[in-house]
Symmetry: C2
Amino acid sequence: MAKKKRITLRDVARHAGVSPTAVSFAYNAPHQLSQITRERILETAAELGYQPHPVARTLATGRTHTIGLVVPTGLNWLLHDPFFSIVLGEVGAVCDEFKMRITLVPAPGEVSPTALATIAADGFLVFALHRDHPLGAAVERTSRPVVMINGDEKLAVPMFNLDDIGGAYRAAKYLIHKGHRHIAVATLGPRADGVVIPSMERRLEGYRQAVADAGLPPETLQIVYTPGLLSTGHESFQKIWSLRPRPTAVLCVSDVRALGILGGARKEHIHVPDDLAVVGFDGLPEAAVSIPPLTTVQHDVASRVQRALSMLFGLINDQIGEADLTYRHITPVEMVVRESA
Amino acid sequence: MAKKKRITLRDVARHAGVSPTAVSFAYNAPHQLSQITRERILETAAELGYQPHPVARTLATGRTHTIGLVVPTGLNWLLHDPFFSIVLGEVGAVCDEFKMRITLVPAPGEVSPTALATIAADGFLVFALHRDHPLGAAVERTSRPVVMINGDEKLAVPMFNLDDIGGAYRAAKYLIHKGHRHIAVATLGPRADGVVIPSMERRLEGYRQAVADAGLPPETLQIVYTPGLLSTGHESFQKIWSLRPRPTAVLCVSDVRALGILGGARKEHIHVPDDLAVVGFDGLPEAAVSIPPLTTVQHDVASRVQRALSMLFGLINDQIGEADLTYRHITPVEMVVRESA
DNA sequence: CTGAAAGCGCTTACAG
DNA sequence: CTGAAAGCGCTTACAG
């Protein structure tokens, strides 16, 4: 089968008896054309079924109308992190509004440092990148605008984070005040691809500081690696429950972990919070309706995403001249006490 | 600030003292070059910090290495449909493997029928599109490869669906067998943007058939519109509970709805399944660990996505000559009886 | 093994 | 208001 040849602007020009320039103007600068020629051109284009070629247009204008959303791991991460779905949804909502498209850029630990260069995008929204990640240096160096969310503050990129340390500190302090002296910490284990998520590191740091400031020994905290999944909650719970000394409370670096553990405890008829107090992190909607409702550290994802994209779009559209690479916006967190602790 | 001029292939050629062709070959046809010149070129490129321009490359080759993932609504839908997160995650996993990128294509009810033409992609994976959607005709007509998931079988596009009708039929029949004669159906209401999701229509049809086949009157089913959200589950429950005659069971077109309603019932101390039996649809992982565990209709999303993408990539790479527009793959469903009904 | 040339399909000063 | 020309930065027959 011979491939149908694409109808180009040139074809339209020929059929309408005008120059290619005129056809281009019909779309991009209508006021430069007399109404009559413009109409003729548009009619001819419709008859021929002409559609401007987006790639050619991009090459000529330099604009893709697309942002690259860089995630610090493979795209299958989406399967494993409901929290990221929320981030993506918020990004989507803002991009809908500004008529920008999103292209997903996976960045697993083994990604080439030049990966960004191959992406057709006007700028990048980078999510949760650690300075040691192969793309860490790349995002600092790309000639296109970049902003970062939940990232490593050591990177020289405008950054929109939340108060991970403060939130974790408060969560731990809350448990200590309630008298807990053996506290498990459920966090993500070292990943096969070596990727480290900066906010998880910071939350751990916050927990530790609280313990230190309370004059308690570091062993008060017992680290447990658990997957951030609801479905493996039972397993996670058993890991925690078999620690010695047995913890009376667990600090989770994410609500997903906490929710899973809640389910696991229930299956074993362990009462939360009496037998085991559980504290989450993030403030997912699910945390409000779990059984029991989850005590957690809440932060506003939507506004963080909005701020970040507002800066990114400003940079892309040259409304902001130069990115302030030291800019740091820290969303405050709120400790929400419910029934699980 | 003067913008730094981009370093082009031409610059590299000049600096290395070779032709542009040679530089291109260094990347795309290394064996066409003597090792020594290739090395010289690559070195020069590295020194100058040369990166091939992806858009120019696309214009010349016709390949974007990207698929457009078309969703039948705005991107903020992601916020409201956890099930879609799973689909997206599976798509991501497969694309990771095949080194294809994903660009998200929102298609709310008011989208222009020419929207696809502006997307730089080698093909489209279309999700849940109805024939009356403004893009319905567009996906049939685009010159680029298209496959569809959970779509409208009236559309002339290769399609990978699941047995919505059969699954719904079995769910309803199960409840009828258990003696339920007043059954609520929780489904999504008419959307502001007019978008209709085909699988939801089919599930409704399945419920109705089961009722008819059992010789029961259509009024056995009472339709209730509820948002597919956990957080509004209490409200949804109250809507159902205030129906008269009061239903003894509820069929939900999605697990998310069912899970929300479970939470709402619990808050009101209504026992599931004794006071109200609840059946979901989809088989989310969460359904296995809810309280009580959810009886639902399960189907395999991962394999459906894999099959669909395998055809799409085959079409894109010309391994499959011509798309069979009447192709219909129907994933079987499995009724999973747990404790909620 | 290497190069000159045409082409991918647009946009946009510039000139009239 | 309209057109001829150069340019965006690559790739790829074709010729040698």
